[in-house]
């Protein structure tokens, strides 16, 4: 256990150094939150501060955090493969998934910075009044949300590791998530038949919980329901990620195609 933690920390630190040297990651955590906040602010201009906080700030913050965690983590296996380091990591005495977990945590720590950038843009540039009605509940929901993002990123990295076309697929997963999770508009504008899909994705719950914590909670049962939903989908992601990494492990050893999967 202690050794695994050491590996996670080392992998996390190395990942942060590597990620920050990539220009796309710099875009995700610095430029995207600024430019997205500006774009969506102009669309929402004239709306109430509550709407601006709910959709411009939270929408930008959660989507930029989502992009920097999942987008980057999904491409990590592909990048390792391209650099010829995948087989080295794979054959290391520590389990492959433990090393990958460290990488995803590294991306997550940097991803949180994008949330801070969004907050600064909305409050300083647009001078929007920002108050949180339930700061403790907000912190708890964000913390659980981040853990959930880590595991969905692990699941995605496993899923996309099986495909050769990771880069194209990675670029195409942003908009479905933005639409389904109600990042910039409520999911109630979506047709009823598509809404169940939204509840498979953890950003939906994170956004709902964060909005409730900021604006005030009318019904605590509603808050608890969404919090419970977030926990359940996170547990599903954990099982999914363990399963996928197991499949990769078997496939790579059986077919000897680790570098060409």
């Amino acid at each position: 256990m202690r050794n695994n933690i050491k590996v996670i920390i080392a992998s996390c630190i190395l990942q942060m150094k590597q990620s920050f040297s990539r220009s796309m990651f710099k875009f995700c955590i610095i430029a995207y939150p600024i430019l997205a906040a500006i774009t969506f602010y102009f669309i929402y201009m004239g709306e109430t501060d509550e709407n601006i906080i709910s959709y411009v700030f939270l929408g930008t913050a959660i989507t930029s955090m989502w992009s920097s965690i999942s987008f980057s983590s999904a491409g990590d296996i592909d990048r390792e493969r391209f650099m010829g380091a995948l087989e080295v990591i794979f054959c290391a005495p520590t389990k492959f998934r433990i090393i990958m977990l460290g990488k995803v945590i590294g991306n997550t720590i940097l991803g949180v910075c994008s949330m801070v950038v969004s907050f600064l843009v909305v409050t300083l540039l647009f001078k929007t009044k920002f108050t949180i009605e339930h700061p403790i509940l907000f912190s708890i929901s964000m913390l659980v949300g981040i853990v959930s993002f880590i595991f969905i990123a692990m699941l995605l990295s496993g899923l996309l590791a099986i495909s050769r076309n990771t880069r194209v697929l990675m670029n195409c997963i942003d908009y479905p998530v933005f639409i389904l999770c109600g990042a910039f508009f409520p999911i109630e504008v979506l047709p009823i038949w598509i809404r169940p899909l939204a509840y498979v994705l953890s950003p939906t719950y994170v956004l709902k919980l964060a909005r409730m914590s900021i604006a005030g909670i009318d019904l605590y049962s509603n808050y608890n329901k969404h919090f419970g939903g977030l926990i359940i989908v996170t547990v599903i992601y954990i099982f999914g990620y363990l399963k996928f990494y197991n499949i990769i492990d078997i496939k790579a050893r059986k077919e000897a195609t680790l570098e060409v999967i």
């Binding site: 220009s23 875009f27 201009m45 076309n165 194209v168 670029n171 195409c172 908009y175 639409i179 979506l190």
Partner: protein
């Protein structure tokens, strides 16, 4: 002319050589369709009862950025990465001719993407083309795409001397969403940004397409398209001049392959 089309087609095929048809469909049809749905739902929610046709058009036109920014914008840099830049520079062919030929198919491909966006608008959001001047509307799409490629060529030339290429191209892409007024009225922009929005291509083509859809004054639309075509051509020339300048600098300091 035959040579022009040959260069154009080979260049376009080379650009998409890494994709199979299935991925081309995902990248060029599914993703733009989802992007259109996202922005239209957002606009429908924010602007509520207002007519959202102008914003559907704006967002459909901006789908061309996939070609303009990410295909044309990386074209020259890909040449260097693949070792063909030195061959192009050393060849006796007219560089401007080769330069324009290489973006020609991107104009058609980008126009197709815009049409996909418009079809999404018709199917899901009731965009109505009844009784409009289709010829002029097509002209507005083509003018916008020429302007878009002009932006792409300028970005592509600058990308030759940039290290942070992805950061640069993605920022440029998002700036287009802000400056062209695709999703909101340009009057909302601060004066400096409003000025910038007036000196980039695409803006007027989008405005012209809105006038054509409203069955407004067609001569005003034509005038806007003329100005946009002129601005787009200036951008192509700026792109070519920058390319020439960087080529000269690279020859002098022998850094053509350096990055």
């Amino acid at each position: 002319m035959k040579k022009f089309f040959r260069i154009s087609l080979i260049s376009f095929k080379a650009l998409l050589g890494w994709l199979d048809p299935k991925l081309y469909v995902i990248y060029k049809i599914v993703d733009p369709a989802l992007q259109m749905i996202f922005y239209t739902l957002l606009i429908q929610f924010v602007y509520k009862s207002q007519d959202i046709t102008p914003w559907i058009l704006g967002n459909a036109f901006l789908l061309c950025t996939k070609n303009a920014v990410f295909a044309v914008g990386t074209m020259l840099r890909n040449d260097r990465d693949q070792g063909t830049l030195q061959l192009i520079i050393a060849s006796p062919a007219n560089k401007l001719y080769v330069y324009i030929a290489r973006v020609f198919f991107n104009v058609l491909d980008a126009s197709l993407t815009v049409v996909i966006g418009l079809v999404i608008g018709v199917i899901f959001f009731g965009l109505d083309f009844t009784g409009i001047n289709i010829l002029l509307f097509t002209l507005s799409i083509l003018t916008a795409m020429v302007g878009g490629m002009g932006i792409g060529l300028v970005l592509g030339s600058i990308a030759l001397v940039m290290r942070e290429i992805h950061l640069f191209l993605n920022v440029a892409n998002m700036m287009l969403y802000i400056l062209t007024g695709a999703s909101f009225s340009r009057e909302r922009l601060p004066s400096a940004m409003y000025f910038l929005s007036n000196i980039i291509p695409l803006t007027r083509s989008i405005d012209a397409s809105r006038i054509i859809m409203e069955k407004g004054n067609l001569s005003t639309a034509l005038q806007l398209l003329g100005v946009d075509l002129a601005i787009g051509s200036i951008y192509i020339l700026i792109g070519f001049t920058l390319y020439g300048y960087f080529e000269y600098k690279a020859r002098v300091s022998a850094t053509l392959e350096a990055y």
